[in-house]
């Protein structure tokens, strides 16, 4: 389980995260939602040690986060993480070289699934194709947890559907997924849990099934209540 305890993050005078505590469990898909600037991406980067915390702690399966955790926690940011001059094939080789948890066969399977050309240069990929390559590089790792920052941002409908289908596939099964998105309607049926951030604090946290059964509301309904109140 990824456990975030009393995490605070300040950029200069701006307090971006204020005392955030939450959990993301294996086998569950947790969605972080919030308006622009609510601190979603910062929280993901803070969990991954890509920006220092101003306070609080992050634990993965009961241990403090350290560099060895990058084998078991994969992060798929909303930007390409490979140099533009590399080919898709070279990216796969890079992952195999540096990560023990890289599964070459799964990587090939993902390439075929997303119909990516191994000879393409990273710098020449369209936004949608780049997002798919990011997914290949993240999901090709045999990681217990996958964090994704806006995997559907700025890409066309068909690519979005293609990427969303990953969430329902065996590629995600048994893993813990924590992701951020603005396109909640595309993946609402796939999500287990929602954490709503508002101005650096958790405004609401719930299991989708519970809220559907207890209150008959969709995630969008709850979002309207929280953010338009």
């Amino acid at each position: 389980m990824i456990r975030v305890e009393h995490v605070r993050k300040r950029f200069g005078r701006k307090q971006v995260l204020r005392d955030i505590s939450m959990e993301a469990r294996r086998g569950e898909i947790t969605c972080l939602v919030g308006t622009n600037g609510s601190g979603k991406s910062t929280l993901l980067r803070a969990i991954m040690g890509l920006t220092p915390l101003s306070g609080g702690r992050v634990e993965v399966d009961g241990a403090a986060f350290h560099h060895g955790m990058y084998e078991k926690v994969a992060f798929i940011p909303d930007t390409l993480t490979m140099p533009p001059g590399m080919t898709v094939r070279a990216c796969m080789t890079f992952m195999q070289d540096f990560y023990r948890s890289w599964e070459a066969a799964r990587g090939e399977e993902l390439l075929a699934f997303f119909k990516l050309d191994p000879a393409s240069r990273v710098g020449s990929l369209s936004k949608g194709t780049a997002a798919k390559l990011n997914l290949v590089l993240g999901l090709g790792l045999n990681a217990d947890y996958v964090l994704m920052d806006e995997p559907f941002s700025g890409i066309d409908l068909f690519s979005r559907e293609h990427i969303a289908s990953v969430f329902a596939s065996e590629l995600i099964e048994d893993r813990g997924v924590l992701f951020t998105t603005h396109e909640i309607q595309d993946v609402e049926h796939l999500i287990d849990k929602v954490v709503m951030l508002d101005q650096g604090v958790i405004a609401k946290e719930f299991y989708c099934e519970d809220i559907r059964q207890r209150e008959g509301k969709s995630v969008l309904d709850v979002m309207r209540e929280v953010y338009q109140a």
Binding site: L50, Y70, F75, P83
Partner: protein, 288 residues
């Protein structure tokens, strides 16, 4: 260790094109300059001494001396320009080595910082890359010296030419003796100072990357002030202890080797401090 070596290999793989371009440019420029300047000198000698003053070659050699490579190239900025260019390009590349991973559409720094190994591997890989690039360029310069010597020999008639070996060439051109020191003490001193300089530069880059522009630059200035204070500590102590007029005496009281040892020790402290600061920033403060 394994990942460190892989990172060095990867960084070198990314650097080989600019390095090859720099080597090619150095070769072409130096060859062209050697041939051009040597032919000019030979033409000048023929016109002024052998034709106008009607000197025989033997008299010319006796009175003026044979034409040597060093005479022709001495203090000629054209010859040393490619070496200076190499130094400047490598200095810029040292900065580029970090910033290219942060800036632009693709943020490779995400991947590099998420490698499952200590971030010190990444730091030392980049430091090693700079050192290997410098050595590659220096080795290339050494390798083309016989070629330059041959180009010189081909441009001067045998009877007018003073033959020199490549080693003599390397020892006669001042800038070359800086990049190719002939004894190990100078080698350690020059390259030690150089690497300490690169470590300071890296610490400044990482300060800026950790605290961003305003706070980063402020931190950088404070750090450079601390380093300056450290390096000039002996002079500052001297200034505080003695009257300014005695400062010269204070410096003169040290033998040159003592002064060099003292300064080397301080530079080593500055280098070590910069490496420690950089590793601390990479582990605890870096932000993407």
């Amino acid at each position: 260790m394994n990942r460190y070596l892989k990172l060095v290999h990867m960084e070198l793989g990314r650097a080989w094109k600019p390095l090859a371009a720099l080597m090619g440019l150095t070769l072409v420029m130096q060859l062209a300059i050697v041939v051009y300047l040597t032919r000019n000198r030979v033409a000048f000698v023929k016109r002024n001494y052998l034709e106008e003053q009607q000197m025989s070659v033997a008299t010319f050699v006796q009175k003026i001396g044979r034409i040597s490579f060093n005479d022709v190239m001495m203090d000629n900025m054209l010859f040393t320009a490619p070496i200076v260019l190499g130094i400047v390009v490598l200095l810029l590349y040292t900065l580029f080595l970090w910033y290219r991973d942060w800036l632009g559409k693709n943020m490779f720094i995400y991947r590099l910082l998420m490698l499952p190994s200590a971030r010190s591997d990444l730091y030392f890989a980049k430091l090693t890359t700079v050192l290997l690039l410098v050595f590659s360029l220096v080795a290339f310069q050494m390798a083309i010296l016989p070629l330059l010597s041959a180009a010189f020999a081909a441009s001067v008639p045998y009877e007018l030419r003073e033959s020199v070996t490549a080693v003599e060439l390397a020892s006669e051109i001042e800038l070359l003796t800086l990049v190719l020191p002939f004894n190990w003490k100078d080698f350690l001193l020059y390259y030690g100072f150089g690497m300490a300089g690169v470590a300071v530069l890296y610490a400044c880059v990482l300060l800026e990357r950790s605290y961003k522009i305003v706070r980063g630059i402020a931190g950088m200035l404070v750090y450079l002030a601390i380093i300056g204070l450290l390096l000039f500590l002996p002079a500052i102590i001297g200034l505080l202890l003695f009257l300014p007029a005695i400062i010269d005496v204070y410096w003169m009281a040290l033998y040159p080797w003592e002064l060099i040892t003292l300064q080397s020790g301080l530079v080593a402290v500055v280098g070590a401090l910069s490496v420690w600061l950089s590793l601390y920033l990479m582990k605890h403060k870096i932000t993407v």
